[in-house]
Symmetry: C2
Subunit: 679 residues, 2 copies
C-alpha cells in the first residue's frame, strides 16, 4: 500500500474544529464531506451533531483509529491537535489554516512543531495552508469548496501548491468537459510536497495524466526523480512560474523559495515532464493526454491534413517554430494523394482546399506513411461538406497512429461533433492554437521519454573528499586531466629559473599566468601574459607578474602553458543547486555571448545524448556547424566534457562550483584553457 | 465618401452566377443575402427567380448602376464578367472563385485581366479567392456562409486574407459573446488588400477595434502607413505567421510572399499595432479593446489586487516576463493599505489572501496611486465572500482608470457575474492567462502609440542619385562622414610612397587595408594588416597586400587608418525590403553574437527614441551598461547613427544595402570601422 493511501483514499475521517457556523471552514468541510462513503467523525465538544453527523468531544473519543484527521482550527492550536491525533493513532493529518512558514519566523516554528509531532507518531501531513483535496473516484471531498464535486470523474490528476490554482485549473477543465481523478493542494508542503503527491498519482489506477502547478520546491531533486519515474507510467504536465520576477510574491504565498526558473524547467523536462508556461497549455495538454499518448521517439513526425489553409497555417507555424517536425511525405504517399487531388498542395500539410469525397483516402495515405507518427485533421464545421464522425469510422482500425481533430464553428453547432469524435478516441479542438499546443505537448512528451539519466561515475572514490578550498588553476587542470578533459601542456614553476627550463621544453608561443588560488580575475591584474615566443619575452612576462601583490598564499607561482589554437569558444560550468542538486551548464563563449546569456542547463549526471542536446539548443549553435568558412566543431567531445564534469559534481557534492571558461572546441577534440574549482 | 463605401456598404448588389442548386456558391450567396435591406439582383438567364428574388439575364439588364457585382462563376469566366460589370457601371466587384494568382502562371494572367478591366472602369475589386465579407451593421452578408450573421453586431472589425480564418476567428469571438462590425476576407488581394480594408475600418463609425490576420503582403509599406493612421483612431491587433517555415504553404494559399517575419512584426508594431502570435491573444485583445483602451504612455503601470495568490502569480509572471511593469506602489498607498490589511502582502500585487470588507477601499487606494494606469482585480467566484458587481458600483466614478476583472469558477456559475461586470464597462476574464494577455495588449497598445515616425532628411538632394555601383570602403566612409557618423582618420593611397607620407601624419598604431570595391571579405584574403606602428612594418604590410590578386578595378589602392580603441562592438545595417521598403537593423557585434543573431529591426525613417529602443531590446544590452568593469556605452550616439543611415536609405532607394560592421560604441561617441554600400 502506498504511504499516502490513508491520506488520499481514507475510509475514516475526523474533522477537528467542526462547526455549525456556515461561514467557518469547520462547517464547510463537513458539508463538503456529506456524501463521503466512509465514516465521518466531526469533532466538537459543544454540539451533538453537525449536518446529521454525530459529533465527538475529541479525537480520542472516536471509536476507531482514523485514517485522516482534518484540522480546521487556527494555526496556534494546530500543534497540540496534531499531537493528540497522533496519540489517538491517526494515520494522517490535513491542515487548512495558514499562518505557518509562509508568514514569517513564528509561523516557521509552529510548522516545525507540527512536523515534530508527525514524525513522533509516523503520521503524514498535508498542508498546512492548503485548500485540501478531492478524490473523485472515492467521493472524498476534503476541502472547503464543496461545489468542486460537480466536476465529472475522469482521468486527470491535479497537484497544486496553490488552492486558488487548484480551483482555477479545475474550473477550466470542467469548462472543457474534462474529468478529474484526484485534485490536491499541497500548501506549504511541510511533509507531503508535490513530489510525494505525484508519486501517489503515478501509481493511482484512476489517473491517466498528472498535472502539477508549483512555484518553488525545497527538494527539487526528489521531484526530478519522482517525475522521471512517473513519466514512464503516464504523462506529467507541469506549469510553473519564475520567468518574470515573482520570487518575493511566491515566498509570501507558500513559503517556498523560487530558485532558478531555467534550471527547474530544464530539470523537469529532462525528467520526462512536459513543462508549460500558461494555463492554456496545461488544459490543452490535459485534454489530449486524457485520450492519447505517443510512443517514445526522438523526433516524432506530425502529419497535417487540412480542408482549409488558414487555420492550418497557424498550426504549422506554431509547431515548426517550436521545433515540432512536420516531415516531408514519402514519394509513394505524394503520388497516391496526387492521383486523388491533382490540383492540391501536397506537402505537409496536405491542403485539400475543401474536403471532398477523397478525404478519407488521403487520410489513409498519410497515416500509412512511415514518417508520420500522428495525424492532425482540420476542417471547418460544414456538415454538408464533411462528416468527421463517418470519416473516423471509415478509417477506424486501419491505422493505430493517434489522430487529433480540429474544427471551427459556433459552439452550439460543433458541440455534438466534438463529443462524438472524442467518444471515438479522437481528441477534438475548436481553436487552431489549442490544437497546436496539444500536439506540441504530445511530441514533447514522446521526445522527453527518450531522455535517459546518465550514470554516476566517481573516479576519485578511493581518495579523501576534495578539500574545503579553492584550487589554483594548475590543480584544477590536473583534476580535468584525470576525468578526461584535455588541457594545454603546461608546467608549474616557483622561480624564474624553473620557468626558463620549462619554457625550453614547451611548444612556442606560450602563455604565462600567475598561479594563485586567491586571484580569480587574473587578466584584470595583469596576471596573463600571452604570445611569449622567446626567453627575453618570458623574463619580461615573469617580471610583470612579480609586480602583482601577494595574496594569502604568500608565494609566487607561475603557470607556463603552450598557447592554444583558436577555435569555437564555449564555457562549461557545474553547480550544486540548493534544491535540484548537481547541475551542469554550457554557454557560448566570448564577451557578447556571455552578456546575451546564451546558455543551456541540465541536472547531472546526464547522458552524452542529453549533453549534446544542450549544445544544440544554444542559439549560437551555428558556430559548431562551420560558421563562415570555419571548420565544424567537435560537438561530441564537448558533450563528453559536459558529462564528465557532471559525473564529478554528482559524485562530489563538496564541490560547490566548477567553471571552465573558455573551453575551445576544435574540428577534433577540445581544450579547457582555464579552470576554476570552488569547494 | 470612402473609396470602398460601395463595396462594404452597398445599396444594390448583383449576384453573377446566381443558382438554384443548393450546393453551389451561386445559391448560397443569394441565400446569405436574403435579408439584405438594399436591392438584390440575382443574374441568371435560365430561371425567373431565386429564393423569391426576380432574376436578370445579365448585369446590363439591371435597371440601375449597382454598387457591388458579386461573381460566383468559375475563374475562366471572370475577366469577361468583370468587363461587362464595368460597362454596366458597377462600382465594385467581388470574386469568390479561386484559380488565380495562388494557382500558378495561368492564374496570374487571369488575375491581371481582372485588374485591367477594373482599372478601365474605375471599379474596386475584392478577391479573387475570397470567402467574401459580412457587414453586421448594414446587414450585408456577402459570402457563402449565411450562418455567420448569427454573430451579434458589435464593435470588432475583422480583416483576414484567409476565409477559413475569418470564420475561425468569428466563431471564437462568438463563443466569447463578442460582436462584429465588419468581417472581411481579402483573398488574393489583387486590388483591395488588407491595408485598404484597414483604411476603411479605421473610418467606419461602428468599428471600435480592428483585427487583422495576414500571411504576406505585396505592399507592406502601405500597410505600415495605414496602420499608423488607423491606430491613432482605434486599436489595431494583428495576427501573422512566419515564425516557423510556412512560406511555401502561404504562397500556395493566397499567392503572397511571406517576406521577413521579424521585419513585418517590428514594422507593424512600430506603426502602432499590437502584433500577436496566437489566435488566443487576438481574441483576448479583441475582448479588452471592445471595452477599454489606455492613454498613450511610454511605460504604463499595472496594479494588481488579488483575493488569492496563485492565479495572480501566473498573471504577474506573464506580464513581468513580457516587459509589462507592475510598479512599486507609493509610500502613502502602502500605508493606507497597511492600515486596512495589517497581515497582507502589500507590494504590487497586493494579496488580500481572501477578499474581506476592506476590498473596495484597497481598490480605491491603488486606483488613487499615480504610478498605476490600470488595475486588475482577481477574486475566485465566491458569492458569499465577494460580489464584484457591488464592488465596481461602489468605486464607480471614483477613478477613471481602466479596470480588468478576472475570476475563476464553473462556467454556469460565473456567467452572470461576467455579464453584469462587463455591462459596467469592466472587461471580465475567467482565465488568468487570458486576462494577462489582454492586459499586455492594452499596455503594448499604449506604448506603441508613443512611437513617432522619424523625419525624412536628404543631405544629398542637390546631387545626382548614388550610382549603380558598389562603393569602396573609403568612398563609403566619406558618405558616413557627411551624414554624421564618425569614422577613423584615414588616407587613401595609390602607392607605397603616398602610403609612407600619410602614415607619418597619422596617430600610431595604424591599420592598413586593401581598398577595392570588388573585395568584400578583406580579412580573408589578408587585406587587413593591424597594429602597424613603424615604417618597416608598414612596408611589409603594403607588400603583403600587393600579393592579393587584382580584381576588376585592376589597380591597387591602400586605406591607411588610425587604429581604433576597443569598445562595445555593434553592427548597423540598412536594406530596402521589397515589401516594407527602407529598414534599419542593429545587432551585437562579434562572431558569437552574429551567430546567435542578436538583432533588432525597424522601418526607416525612424525617431531617435525608436532607434534607442532597438538598441535596448538587444539581448546583449548589458554590454552597454558597463559590463564587467567596462565603462557605459554611448547608446545615444549609436541611436543617432541608426537614424542617420535610416534617413539615407529612405531618401535614396537606389541604395540597396548598407553594412557598417563593426561599429565601436565608446563611453562617448562611436566609430564605424568598416563600411559597405551596395547600390
Amino acid at each position: 500500500m502506498h504511504a499516502l493511501e490513508h491520506l488520499f483514499n481514507p475510509k475514516s475521517i475526523a474533522v477537528i474544529g467542526a462547526s455549525l457556523d456556515e461561514y467557518k471552514a469547520g462547517y464547510q468541510v463537513v458539508f463538503s464531506l456529506k456524501d463521503f462513503p466512509g465514516r465521518l467523525y466531526p469533532v466538537n465538544p459543544k454540539v451533538d451533531s453537525i449536518l446529521g453527523f454525530k459529533t465527538y468531544p475529541n479525537i480520542t473519543a472516536i471509536p476507531e483509529k482514523i485514517d485522516l484527521a482534518l484540522l480546521t482550527i487556527p494555526a496556534a492550536a494546530c500543534p497540540d491537535a496534531v499531537e493528540e491525533a497522533g496519540r489517538a493513532g491517526a494515520a494522517s493529518v490535513m491542515i487548512i489554516s495558514g499562518g505557518f512558514a509562509e508568514s514569517g519566523e513564528a509561523g516557521k516554528q509552529l510548522q516545525e512543531r507540527l512536523m515534530a509531532a508527525c514524525r513522533t507518531y509516523g503520521m503524514r501531513l498535508l498542508g498546512p495552508n492548503t485548500a485540501g483535496y478531492a478524490n473523485f473516484h472515492a467521493a472524498v471531498s476534503a476541502n472547503f469548496t464543496p461545489w468542486i464535486m460537480e466536476i465529472k470523474r475522469g482521468g486527470i490528476g491535479l497537484i497544486s501548491q496553490s488552492g486558488a490554482m487548484t480551483f482555477t485549473i479545475s474550473s477550466l477543465l470542467h469548462a472543457r468537459k474534462l474529468g478529474l481523478s484526484i485534485a490536491t493542494g499541497t500548501g506549504n508542503g511541510a511533509d507531503v510536497d508535490p513530489a510525494d503527491a505525484l508519486d501517489y498519482l503515478a501509481q493511482h489506477s484512476g489517473t491517466k495524466v498528472i498535472l502539477l502547478y508549483f512555484e518553488g520546491i525545497a527538494n527539487g531533486r526528489r521531484l526530478y526523480e519522482v517525475v522521471r519515474k512517473a513519466a514512464k507510467q503516464k504523462p506529467v504536465v507541469i506549469l510553473t512560474v519564475g520567468k518574470g520576477n515573482v520570487a518575493e510574491f511566491a515566498a509570501s504565498h507558500t513559503g517556498n523559495l523560487m530558485g532558478s526558473y531555467a534550471l527547474k524547467c530544464a530539470a523537469l523536462s529532462q525528467a520526462g515532464a512536459v513543462v508549460v508556461e500558461t494555463v492554456d497549455e496545461l488544459i490543452d495538454a490535459a485534454a489530449v493526454f486524457s485520450q492519447i499518448r505517443l510512443e517514445p521517439k526522438d523526433e516524432p513526425g506530425v502529419g497535417l491534413l487540412t480542408g482549409q489553409a488558414g487555420p492550418s497555417m497557424i498550426m504549422t507555424d506554431y509547431l515548426r517554430s517550436r521545433g515540432v517536425v512536420l516531415p516531408e511525405l514519402g514519394k509513394t504517399t505524394v503520388e497516391k494523394i496526387r492521383k486523388l487531388l491533382p490540383m492540391s498542395y501536397i506537402k505537409n500539410p496536405v491542403d485539400t482546399t475543401r474536403p471532398g469525397p477523397s478525404f478519407p483516402e488521403v487520410f489513409q495515405a498519410m497515416a500509412d506513411d512511415p514518417v508520420i507518427d500522428m495525424l492532425m485533421i482540420f476542417a471547418i464545421h460544414e456538415p454538408a461538406v464533411i462528416d468527421p464522425v463517418s470519416l473516423f469510422e471509415r478509417v477506424k482500425g486501419k491505422t493505430r497512429k493517434p489522430v487529433l481533430f480540429v474544427t471551427a464553428g459556433f459552439p452550439d453547432a460543433v458541440a455534438g461533433t466534438v463529443e462524438a469524435v472524442e467518444k471515438m478516441g479522437v481528441p477534438a479542438f475548436t481553436s487552431p492554437n489549442s490544437a497546436a499546443r496539444a500536439a506540441a505537448a504530445l511530441v514533447h512528451d514522446a521526445k522527453a521519454a527518450c531522455s535517459h539519466p546518465g550514470e554516476a561515475v566517481d573516479l576519485f572514490k578511493e581518495e579523501p573528499p576534495f578539500e574545503n578550498k579553492t584550487f589554483n588553476e594548475g590543480e584544477a587542470k590536473d583534476i580535468l586531466d584525470r576525468i578526461g578533459i584535455p588541457t594545454p601542456t603546461r608546467a608549474v614553476c616557483v622561480d624564474h629559473e624553473e620557468a626558463l627550463r620549462a619554457f625550453r621544453t614547451l611548444r612556442k608561443p606560450c602563455v604565462v599566468k600567475v598561479l594563485d588560488s586567491a586571484i580569480s580575475h587574473k587578466t584584470e591584474v595583469g596576471g596573463v601574459q600571452l604570445n611569449i615566443s622567446n626567453e627575453d619575452a618570458l623574463l619580461k612576462a615573469l617580471q610583470r607578474i612579480d609586480k602583482i601583490q601577494k595574496t594569502r598564499d604568500n608565494r609566487r607561482q607561475y603557470l607556463i602553458e603552450e598557447m592554444a589554437e583558436s577555435g569555437v569558444e564555449i564555457l562549461l560550468g557545474a553547480r550544486n543547486d540548493p534544491s535540484f542538486g548537481p547541475s551542469v551548464m554550457v554557454g557560448m563563449g566570448g564577451v557578447a555571448a556571455e552578456a546575451i546569456g546564451d546558455t543551456s542547463i541540465r541536472l547531472a549526471p546526464l547522458s552524452v545524448g542529453e549533453a549534446k542536446a544542450m549544445l544544440l539548443e544554444l542559439k549560437g549553435r551555428r558556430l559548431f556547424e562551420g560558421w563562415r568558412g570555419s571548420p565544424q566543431a567537435d560537438v561530441d567531445s564537448a558533450a563528453e566534457a559536459i558529462v564528465e564534469i557532471g559525473q564529478l559534481i554528482s559524485a562530489h557534492p563538496e564541490i560547490r562550483e566548477i567553471d571552465l571558461n573558455p573551453v575551445r572546441v576544435y574540428e577534433k577534440g577540445i581544450l579547457a584553457l582555464d579552470a576554476l574549482f570552488i569547494c
